[in-house]
């Protein structure tokens, strides 16, 4: 397992995901991708679901990847990487690959490609126990196609298919708790992470690479374009998400041992997080105050739940 160390040391890592891609200025996807792929020195094969990262890093005739990379479709990043991992095992067994050189198998998908259309494929690959890490770049909607809702879109968010309107406050449902669902697949390691907490993220990625079996990393990827905030504020928004406990950072080992990996020193009100993003601006209008209260309650309850689990060691 790579020792992540301090940032001065981590920054000596040669990048394996490069510039010249066409992601939006200030996009969190590539920050997360770099923090993940730089967390191992082993060879990597990457599979990516259709979405912002896929499109923007592989516009023919250019690739932004220094490692082997595969995109098949929207719903099959996990199945694709499971096939590559199976081939690796087969060729190793048959003596066609060196046995002493470890390789890691990694898949990226947006929330659409992970929570929704790719869920079956991910569930199957996790259940089959392939040795791979799946990293969800959760930006809470179908941002590559102009910001439609997904099952990761939270209550009250304005998207182009759950728009705010004269009689609507936007998205009606709380987001699906995919991290817990993946933990219940029997994954030996699942965790949440955000790009601003780089060491937490890179350490979890390093741990994930080092874990044998399916690993799921759910990362919150603030989207400057569809969450409506200034590109320069990507890291700040990411910090607000964890300091308000809207997106708590934790890990679960073997489905049973939950550890909270970041506790804000001063827990900030959820309204600070919501207020920093245009997609929630209508919640601050008269008549919608109850939604901000509901958000706070929901967030506090979940934070409580995580703490109770951690205390109980389950």
């Amino acid at each position: 397992m790579k020792n992540i160390g301090n940032l001065k040391e981590f920054a000596t890592t040669p990048d394996r995901f490069q510039g010249g891609h066409r992601l939006c200025p200030g996009c969190a996807h590539s920050i997360i991708v770099r923090e993940v792929v730089n967390a191992t020195e082993d060879d990597i094969v990457v599979s990516t679901a259709t979405g912002c990262l896929e499109v923007c890093s592989s516009i023919y005739p250019y690739t932004s990847w220094d490692v082997s990379w595969l995109h098949i479709g929207f719903e099959n990043a996990a199945a694709g990487i499971s096939g590559a991992e199976a081939m690796y095992k087969a060729l190793k067994r048959k003596g066609k690959l060196p046995v002493d050189k470890p390789a890691k198998f990694l898949a990226f998908g947006g929330d659409g490609g992970t929570y929704d259309i790719g869920f079956q494929s991910l569930s199957g690959a996790a259940e089959r126990g392939h040795d791979f890490m799946y990293v969800c770049l959760d930006n809470e909607g179908y941002m590559n196609t102009g910001g439609q809702r997904s099952s990761a879109t939270p209550v009250g968010a304005h998207t182009t298919t759950s728009p705010r309107g004269r009689i609507s406050y936007g998205e009606k449902n709380w987001k699906k708790d995919l991290t817990m669902i993946m933990s219940h697949h029997g994954c030996p390691y699942v965790a949440t992470a955000v790009p601003s907490k780089w060491k937490d993220l890179a350490t979890k990625a390093a741990k994930g690479f080092d874990t044998e079996g399916p690993v799921f990393l759910n990362t919150l990827s603030p989207c400057t374009t569809e969450w409506k905030f200034d590109p320069a504020d990507t890291i700040m928004i990411s910090d607000l998400a964890v300091d308000s406990c809207v997106f708590p950072l934790y890990e679960i080992e073997n489905g049973t041992k939950l550890t909270i990996t970041y506790r804000p020193k001063n827990k900030i009100p959820v309204r600070d997080y919501l207020g920093a993003q245009g997609r929630f601006s209508h919640l601050f209008k008269k008549g919608n105050e109850h939604l901000i209260d509901a958000w706070q309650k929901h967030t506090d309850e979940y934070w409580e739940y995580l703490q109770r689990r951690e205390e109980a060691g389950v």
């Binding site: 060879d43 896929e54 719903e75 096939g83």
Partner: protein, 409 residues
């Protein structure tokens, strides 16, 4: 190393058993599959070979056919021999990924046991799935009996993996009529079969870590056309390799395969063109028809894609009337095989009268007698020197005659 499987020189195998032994003998590195009637026994047989140590590759029992083909793409791009099996609805679920596999030029082999597509649901044989994959950029080989299911599967690997082809290949056999009908099959021993298929030759493998490659890039309007055209050319050029592989196979086994198979065509005046088990039935009908004075022959394209246009026209150049039998409901036109054959003969300036027949949907029996009726229709057309029977007829359909474009209407 995988255990050697002792085989007799003559085995009694159904098409599924034949295909699964061919997969085993090719020492496939990764099989990713999902069971579906009537190809389930291929997957089951392969599982038992694995359980008994006859296979040392990986077998990934996925959660859907979509993931089966996706895992095949991942495995093939990684750089090794890959195969799967499916039918019908499973094939339909794979379709998106079939296009991905061929676009990435991955030499995956898929043994397809042809079955009808719902709705209404049906588990029996027709060519609905084969036709669904028609334009997917795969080579589609046709096997008409268990021996051919075995032979075509071995040949499929060699064709797909040839450096001048690098395209995925399906081998097709009729559900139940071939897949579940035991006949005598003469297999090769394991060593000879593997030697024929040969070692897998990698091309741009993802697992060559010193030379990372990107698969599945996005090509927009300034690139997509060129990529598709190049892929099409590979298919159009592939008959050369198919014929080369068939020639090697003949040398080894004495069994001869051609791009267009034919029976009694030397002096035939009328011909049925059909794919699958009905080719066998029509051969018996042709012999019967000759006893009744009709100079009947039968033709079968060995590959549905690439379609052997020139060879088809050549085989049919002396006939007066042709019936193309489609085992698929074309839903609004005459029939894909009909149109292929009509296009082929037209392209070479031949003017045989051609009619289409729809038969065998959802496993409906099509007998020697039914084929004889077709030959009688053809004889009428040949004698009249013009089409006197409907352009499209249905064989063994219950109810009043259903036909389209009757003469004089």
């Amino acid at each position: 190393m995988a255990e050697k499987y002792e085989l007799k020189t003559k085995e009694v195998w159904d098409g599924n058993t034949a295909a699964s032994h061919a997969l085993r003998q090719a020492q496939v590195d990764v099989v990713a599959a999902y069971p579906i009637t009537p190809s389930t026994p291929i997957v089951q047989n392969y599982s038992s070979y694995l359980a008994d140590g006859y296979v040392d590759g990986e077998f990934v029992m996925v959660e859907s056919e979509h993931s089966a083909m996706s895992a095949c793409v991942g495995a093939s791009a990684a750089g090794g021999r890959v195969a799967t099996a499916t039918s019908s609805q499973g094939y339909a679920l794979m379709v998106e990924v079939l296009y991905q596999a061929s676009g990435m030029r991955l030499p995956i082999v898929m043994t397809v046991v042809n079955r009808a597509l719902a709705s209404p649901l049906n588990i029996h044989g027709d060519h609905g799935d084969l036709y669904l994959g028609r334009d997917a950029g795969w080579i589609h080989l046709i096997a008409n009996n268990p021996q051919e299911a075995y032979d075509m599967t071995l040949c499929a690997f060699k064709i797909a993996e040839d450096e001048d082809v690098r395209l995925p290949v399906t081998t097709n056999q009729d559900g139940f009529l071939v897949s579940h009908t035991a006949q005598i099959v003469e297999p090769l021993d394991d060593e000879t079969a593997y030697k024929f298929v040969g070692d897998y030759k990698q091309k741009n493998p993802m697992l060559d870590f010193d030379h990372p490659v990107t698969y599945g890039a996005q090509t927009e309007e300034e690139w997509h056309f060129e990529h598709k055209a190049r892929q099409h050319k590979a298919l159009m050029d592939s008959p050369k390799v198919i014929e080369k592989v068939f020639a090697e196979f003949k040398e080894l086994t004495g069994r001869e395969y051609k791009l267009v198979e034919s029976h009694n065509m030397e002096d035939a005046e009328v011909a049925i063109v059909a794919m699958g088990s009905n080719y066998e039935t029509a051969k018996i009908a042709a012999d019967e028809a000759r006893k009744a004075g009709i100079k009947a022959g039968v033709v079968c394209p060995r590959s549905f894609r690439p379609f052997p246009i020139k060879e088809m026209a050549e085989t049919l150049k002396n006939v007066k009337a042709i019936a193309a039998l489609d085992r698929n409901c074309p839903m609004g036109t005459i029939g894909a095989l009909h149109n292929e054959v009509a296009g082929a003969i037209n392209a070479f300036g031949q003017n045989a009268i051609i009619t289409g027949y729809i038969y065998g949907l959802g496993g409906r029996d099509t007998t020697v007698a039914h084929n004889l009726e077709v030959f009688k229709d053809l004889a009428m057309n040949a004698e009249a020197g013009k089409r006197v029977t409907p352009l499209q007829k249905f064989i063994n359909l219950r109810g009043p005659e259903l036909s389209f474009f009757k003469v004089g209407e």
